[in-house]
């Protein structure tokens, strides 16, 4: 079961990380357009639409990836004080009450929405139109990956309720990775220990 859950995690992560490169594309595209407009004096009408699409794709597809790493904002004022089993009970209830209806509706509605767009071969409203329907298909894609990831999370909740502890997840890059930051500025744990002696001496002197 554990390997199945991790496989789902890896799938979401793979999708999220693949589309994450949109950030680099977006940076380069806009920089190039700025250069092209101001230096070469040849602006492109389609770039504005393309940058919106890159941005939308970037964050929509990263939704499941973020969920698989437990990265969505939570109000953890109380949550942090709960025991894991209590956390899992609340999570399970709310996954079923809020998450599933919301995401199923999003996926379903997104599928119809994108299908309608495909039927008329919808294009952006611009001098150099781009096809719009692939972008709209990002909505059901994001919905499906979130749904799969959500199922994995629900199974995790059940496991946690049974065992009283959260099943483990694979590591991922963290915003504040203390070990990495320490390495970056060349600080060892021994240095902090040495500093502790300074603190103790100072407190003792009072």
């Amino acid at each position: 079961m554990q390997s199945f859950l991790l496989a789902i995690d890896r799938f979401s992560t793979w999708i999220g990380k693949t589309f994450a490169w949109c950030a680099v594309l977006l940076t380069l595209l806009i920089s190039w357009e700025v250069f092209s407009r101001y230096a070469l004096n040849t602006p492109h009408a389609w770039v504005l639409d393309a940058q919106i699409m890159l941005y939308g794709t970037l964050f929509m597809t990263a939704g499941a990836y973020t969920l698989s790493k437990n990265g969505h904002v939570r109000g953890d004022v109380l949550y942090g004080f709960f025991r894991p089993r209590t956390q899992a009970i609340f999570d399970l209830a709310l996954y079923i009450l809020f998450f599933l209806p919301g995401i199923v509706a999003l996926t379903w509605a997104g599928w119809i929405y994108a299908g309608e767009s495909l039927a008329i071969r919808e294009q952006t409203f611009s001098a150099d139109p781009l096809p719009l329907y692939p972008f709209k298909y990002i909505i059901p894609l994001a919905g499906v990956t979130l749904l799969i990831q959500g199922v994995a999370e629900i199974i995790r909740c059940v496991q946690c309720i049974q065992r009283g502890a959260w099943p483990s997840r694979e590591d991922d890059v963290e915003e504040v990775d203390v070990a990495k930051l320490k390495e970056m500025v060349n600080v060892q744990d021994a240095d902090i220990q040495a500093l502790d002696a300074v603190v103790v001496a100072k407190e003792g002197a009072k």
Partner: protein, 652 residues
């Protein structure tokens, strides 16, 4: 037992909200949709406090209540759902979020902070509380460029905390300076918070950036002032640096010239270069030092000449309009007396700015000036550096120009004085500090100011500036040889996660606020608030207090996307500018980062501080800085011009 108590408190709080909502439903005679909306609002606060990911709470709850609002019409509900998702996907304000976040991660990984801190604390060694001041300035700059509170506080906890504690600083003061400084990145633009507020409230991000600049700077300077004051009044808390700590090691080659730290640079370098008395020092080294020494002077001369041309040259077509603006600003309006162009401009001392202004022809004088008049040749840059103002004055008499405005003279007189002082007091030790600043402080400042400047001056949209900033972060990381594929990957993936976190919240809140509006909750809130007969001041105080209280259980993203749509429509009734309100909210949410016991900054610092530094000491250190933030809010309220002056000046 303590944990249980907090749990009970939280659960009691939730029960109170639900109880209040139920009491409201029971007390009214007929339950309208609006009451359902308020019920939804109270339920969502409860659900968020239970700890479920907020984006999905909003989405699920919004959808369920939309379904009720549409009288159980599934098709309409689904339409609204997908529309709200698509609206967020094609939002042209939020697109700057991933770009600024990406820039932040790249800049963070360029690892400038160590040199930045070291050079700043050496440069400020003479100030009282030098280390704490340097910490605050480092935090401000680094937090502004990266916007990542956790990383800045952690890094400064690793670098500045040991330095301060070893120098004998009191623990609360050291901890307070780090945490308060690290949180400034939330407020000072380019910050993501202001983009998110702009996207929610429909206020131009450009104006928000222009508006938040001075309040942010004011807050940072208030912090610095406070630290200096404490160091003056309580020297035991922030003892001055010992001589050993202030020693700047000179490079070997410089030492071989026989220079000591106090030797004055310019004569020594030139003497060494000319006399060839130090055969073992390569000329290349000396020339390199000399080039670095000459840099500020050349830069100043360049900026002075270019900007002087820019402010004095008048387009043939636009001549008349620009003349008028220039005239009204410089207050040179002595009619059309065509005074002869002053030829003695070069001899004028810099102090006679006013006199210099009278001499060039004003208004019609410039128009009437003979077109054939030859502009005076620009003096060589060396002369310019020592006597900049008069040198530029010589050009004012050229045809098709107008007198430079007073502000230009003031700015460049001050800059010239700074450059002159720099050369007067340039010793070899200071040269080393200057070189360190050159490698850390100036690149960051350049990045921040060019991103901000291009946005505020309207040269680029925030999106474009953000993309250029990300490219700048790219180059910065490459220049410091930190740009590997691993670092790039980490930054990209973190960007994806952070953007997903912020933007999915918008997907959820879009449908939630749609449901709230459909149910008529907004109208009910408005009716209720107007029924209280508040004055403008009372309303502002009340709303800021509510936001401050919400900052305790909720994160700033949640507060902005859920509660701003409720507050913003009310502003009109009280005649409050949404821009001004946004600045107040941004300052206010700063405070939430420092308010115990939930302040994130404190926990990041605790994570890297020695075990005997207690959380209570850190909280104690943060309290005075919190007080300063409240003071800053009050100051901004009393003098709204602190925030509104720049946007009004630029976008009237």
């Amino acid at each position: 037992m303590k944990i249980r108590k907090e749990l009970w408190f939280g659960l009691g709080f939730m029960a109170l909200i639900v109880g209040g909502a139920i009491a409201m439903l029971v007390s009214v005679e007929t339950v309208t949709n609006g009451h359902l909306g308020l019920l939804m609002l109270s339920l969502v606060v409860v659900a968020i406090m239970l700890g479920f990911p907020t984006a999905f709470t909003l989405m699920g709850m919004g959808m369920i209540f939309t379904w009720f609002a549409y009288e159980r019409n599934t098709t309409h509900t689904l339409d609204l759902m997908v529309q709200s998702a698509y609206k967020t996907m094609s939002n042209d304000v939020l697109i700057a979020v991933p770009l600024f976040v990406f820039m932040g991660y790249l800049v963070e990984r360029a690892n400038l902070i160590e040199t930045l801190f070291k050079s700043l604390h050496l440069a400020m060694a003479r100030l009282p509380g030098a280390l704490a001041v340097a910490t605050l300035v480092t935090c401000t700059i680094f937090a502004t460029a990266t916007g990542i509170v956790g990383a800045v506080v952690t890094l400064m906890g690793l670098l500045a905390l040991p330095a301060m504690l070893r120098a004998g600083y009191s623990i609360p003061l050291a901890a307070g300076a780090i945490t308060a400084g690290g949180c400034l990145g939330i407020l000072i633009p380019p910050s993501v918070l202001l983009i998110v507020y702009g996207a929610t409230a429909g206020v131009s991000v450009v104006q928000l950036y222009a508006g938040a600049f001075f309040p942010g700077l004011m807050l940072a300077s208030l912090y610095v002032l406070y630290v200096i004051l404490v160091a003056k009044l309580k020297p035991a808390w922030a003892p001055p640096l010992s001589a050993a700590d202030r020693v700047v090691p000179l490079p070997l080659l410089t030492q071989r010239t026989g220079a000591t730290a106090q030797t004055h640079v310019l004569p020594k370098l030139i003497a060494t270069l000319k006399g060839r008395r130090n055969a073992d020092v390569p000329v290349g080294h000396l020339l390199r030092q000399l080039a670095i020494v000459a840099l500020p002077g050349l830069l100043f001369a360049l900026v002075a000449i270019i900007s002087y041309r820019a402010v004095t040259t008048v387009d043939a077509a636009a001549q008349y309009d620009i003349q008028e603006i220039g005239a009204s600003r410089t207050a040179v309006s002595e009619g059309g007396l065509a005074e002869p162009p002053a030829s003695g401009g070069l001899e004028e001392p810099p102090s006679s700015d006013g006199g210099g202004l009278q001499e060039p022809p004003s208004e019609s004088g410039a128009l009437a000036a003979p077109p054939g008049a030859t502009p005076d040749a620009a003096p060589p840059p060396s002369a310019n550096a020592s006597a900049p103002a008069p040198a530029a004055a010589a050009e004012a008499s050229a045809a098709g120009t107008r007198p430079a405005p007073t502000w230009w003279w003031v700015v460049f007189a001050v800059l010239g004085a700074i450059v002159t002082l720099f050369y007067l007091f340039l010793s070899f030790a200071r040269l080393e500090i200057f070189k360190m600043l050159l490698a850390s402080f100036f690149p960051l400042m350049l990045l921040i100011l060019s991103v901000l400047g291009s946005i505020v001056l309207g040269l680029a949209t925030p999106t474009e500036a953000a993309a250029m900033g990300a490219l700048g972060g790219f180059l910065l990381a490459a220049a410091y040889r930190r740009l590997t594929l691993g670092v790039l990957k980490e930054s990209v993936f973190l960007t994806a996660k952070t953007s997903a976190m912020v933007c999915w919240l918008f997907v959820g809140s879009a449908i939630f606020s749609a449901a709230f509006a459909l149910l008529g909750g907004q109208a009910l809130v408005e009716e209720w608030v107007l029924g209280m007969n508040l004055s403008k001041v009372q309303f502002l105080v009340l709303s800021q207090v509510i936001i401050f209280l919400l900052g305790w259980p909720l994160e700033w993203t949640e507060i902005i996307v859920i509660f701003m749509p409720i507050f913003i429509p009310l502003l009109d009734n009280f005649g409050v500018d949404p821009l001004f309100f946004g600045l107040l909210v941004a300052l206010n949410l700063q405070t939430a980062f420092l308010s115990p016991p939930v302040a994130m900054a404190a926990f990041y610092l605790k994570g890297v501080s020695p075990p005997h530094v207690t959380l209570n000491q850190i909280f104690l250190g943060m309290l005075p800085f919190m007080g300063i933030q409240v003071l800053a809010i009050v100051l901004l309220y009393i003098w709204p011009q602190i925030g509104l002056w720049l946007p009004q000046l630029l976008y009237k």
